[in-house]
């Protein structure tokens, strides 16, 4: 939707842009999660440490989008990728730097300002 991106997401995207990406690590069950959580989604713990995120990922699934929302209508068809980062958290981003991708391919996480001033997560094959 067209609402302004919230501060927590802007901070998350800017950190990726500054090569200072992070995720949240649960000190109890050791699982990873993403901002802006204040408690672990997998256990009752509410102590989450901010840890560096490598940006290296593996493709888990992908889709080639033809029918889309107004904001991306001029870009269709485009590919969206769901990938697992080395630290175990998963993110979704648009494919860059290639026309096709396969499950299992190594990719790296990036961000760009697109369209206009909105931050967009991307994955590019290594």
């Amino acid at each position: 939707m067209s609402a302004q991106q919230p501060n927590w997401f802007v901070e998350f995207a800017q950190a990726i842009d500054a090569d200072d990406a992070f995720y949240l690590h649960c000190t109890a069950c050791q699982s990873g999660s993403l901002p802006p959580r204040s408690s672990c989604p997998r256990c009752p713990n509410d102590v989450l440490e901010r840890r560096p995120l490598s940006r290296q990922a593996t493709v888990r699934s992908h889709a080639l989008v033809y029918v889309t929302i107004p904001r991306f209508i001029d870009d269709a068809p485009y590919t969206v990728v769901l990938a697992r980062l080395e630290e175990g958290v998963q993110l979704t981003g648009q494919l860059r730097g290639a026309d096709e991708v396969s499950v299992g391919d190594p990719v790296h996480l990036g961000v760009e300002k697109y369209p206009e001033d909105a931050w967009l997560l991307t994955f590019t094959p290594d």
């Binding site: 939707m1 993403l34 080639l64 989008v65 998963q90």
Partner: protein, 387 residues
């Protein structure tokens, strides 16, 4: 604890309602339910309306009060219940709780969505509100694209082929032919499904449900109320379950599994005391072909990775041992998002009352399975004949 009985049901046809508004669709379905129930509107003490995006399609919120006003139920508590595509399944769940706890004796539950007039791009945008705005919508991940990712994983992890999933469309379109409420009433062949226009590969137009206008309604009463007023209400909602999962697909370790529906089903079965082998007929939330396969696994009818076999091998066909989506399902009957849960309830009620256009002989126990988003919320109900 008072049991919930279904006193009456009503529904508009599902499809394109040229020039219709949300309130007109709602009133049409509810009026039919009141006629069917032989209950007058002044007896109703609560109104629960399932609706997902009236604020966007009609610039209209506050749908509960609107229904109470337009249907003449001034003393009723009224509210809109929103749980994305599971909105009116959720409304049924709440209605049943209100009756069980003795707060209400007679409740109107209805669902409505008016989608066509809004246009495909804006509707795709509105539907995406059921997903995670920052982590999914912001990267252009539409709803069909989320299910495309789930479908790709399902095809990778199981023995199913894309044609095996297409068999779900062929089955449901065949079921829709006899249903006068169905958006599509023409059958379709397997090769036509394969050749359909892509929406978000591997999902194409015929692996997906259509955009639909429509409303469905039910008058639900306590068994005490039914006896006091000598109502013909032989179908009971004997079990209900409701559970949640992560909002975003990316937060799930398994992409081809709907855990919320597993939990909801377990709760509904336990409460009803019914076991799988007693269930005669099922309506599941087949928003995409893969969703029906996953539903049948979550409901326990098939092991993980085997749900596709139902349609491909014939077991879930009308003449099979477990008919699924005898209405045509979302794929053929249509998916007016907020109406679908109550729509499923009306279809199973017809089966159990012996008046369904695709009647399953001797059906006495049925199940409804209604899912919000990519599985982040799920409602399951068990219905059965009690008198």
């Amino acid at each position: 604890m008072d049991e919930s009985r279904i006193a009456g049901i009503g529904s508009t046809t599902y499809g394109k309602h040229e020039d219709a508004s949300t309130r007109e669709l709602l009133v049409e379905a509810a009026s039919e339910a009141f006629d069917d129930a032989d209950v007058s509107t002044d007896m109703i003490d609560a109104v629960y309306i399932g609706n997902f995006m009236g604020d966007i399609t009609d610039d209209q919120g506050h749908m509960g009060a609107l229904a109470a006003d337009y249907l003449g139920m001034p003393r009723a508590a009224s509210m809109r219940i929103e749980s994305a595509c599971a909105s009116s399944g959720a409304a049924v769940y709440i209605a049943r709780q209100a009756i069980a706890h003795g707060h209400s004796e007679a409740v109107l539950v209805a669902g409505v969505e008016n989608m066509f007039a809004t246009g495909i791009a804006k509707i795709t945008d509105a539907l995406a509100n059921a997903a995670d705005n920052e982590y999914e919508n912001a990267v252009g991940l539409t709803f069909p694209a989320i299910y495309a990712m789930m479908m790709r994983e399902y095809l990778r992890q199981t023995e199913a082929t894309i044609d095996d999933l297409a068999a779900i469309t062929v089955k449901n379109r065949a079921n829709g032919v006899a249903n006068p409420l169905s958006q599509f009433q023409t059958p379709i062949e397997l090769d036509e499904v394969a050749e359909a226009r892509p929406i978000a590969e591997p999902v194409n137009l015929l692996h997906a449900c259509p955009i639909t206008d429509g409303a469905s309604a039910a008058v639900i009463v306590s068994d005490t109320f039914a006896k006091e007023h000598d109502l013909d209400a032989s179908v009971s909602i004997s079990g209900g379950g409701f559970a949640s999962d992560t909002l975003a697909l990316q937060d799930r370790q398994e992409l081809h599994r709907t855990r919320a529906a597993e939990q909801a089903a377990a709760e509904a079965y336990a409460e009803s005391g019914r076991s799988l082998d007693e269930i005669d007929v099922v309506e599941v939330h087949d928003c995409f072909t893969v969703a029906e396969a996953l539903a049948l696994e979550s409901l326990g009818f098939y092991d993980r990775g085997e749900g596709w076999r139902g349609a491909a091998e014939g077991e879930t066909h009308l003449d099979g041992s477990l008919p699924v989506n005898t209405s045509g399902g979302l794929i053929s009957k249509g998916h007016p998002v907020g109406a679908t849960g109550v729509g499923q309830l009306t279809e199973i009620t017809k089966q159990l009352e012996g008046r369904h256009p695709n009647q399953v002989d001797g059906a006495t126990v049925g199940v409804t399975h209604n899912v919000g988003g990519s599985g982040a919320s799920a409602v399951v109900h068990v219905l059965e004949v009690v008198a």
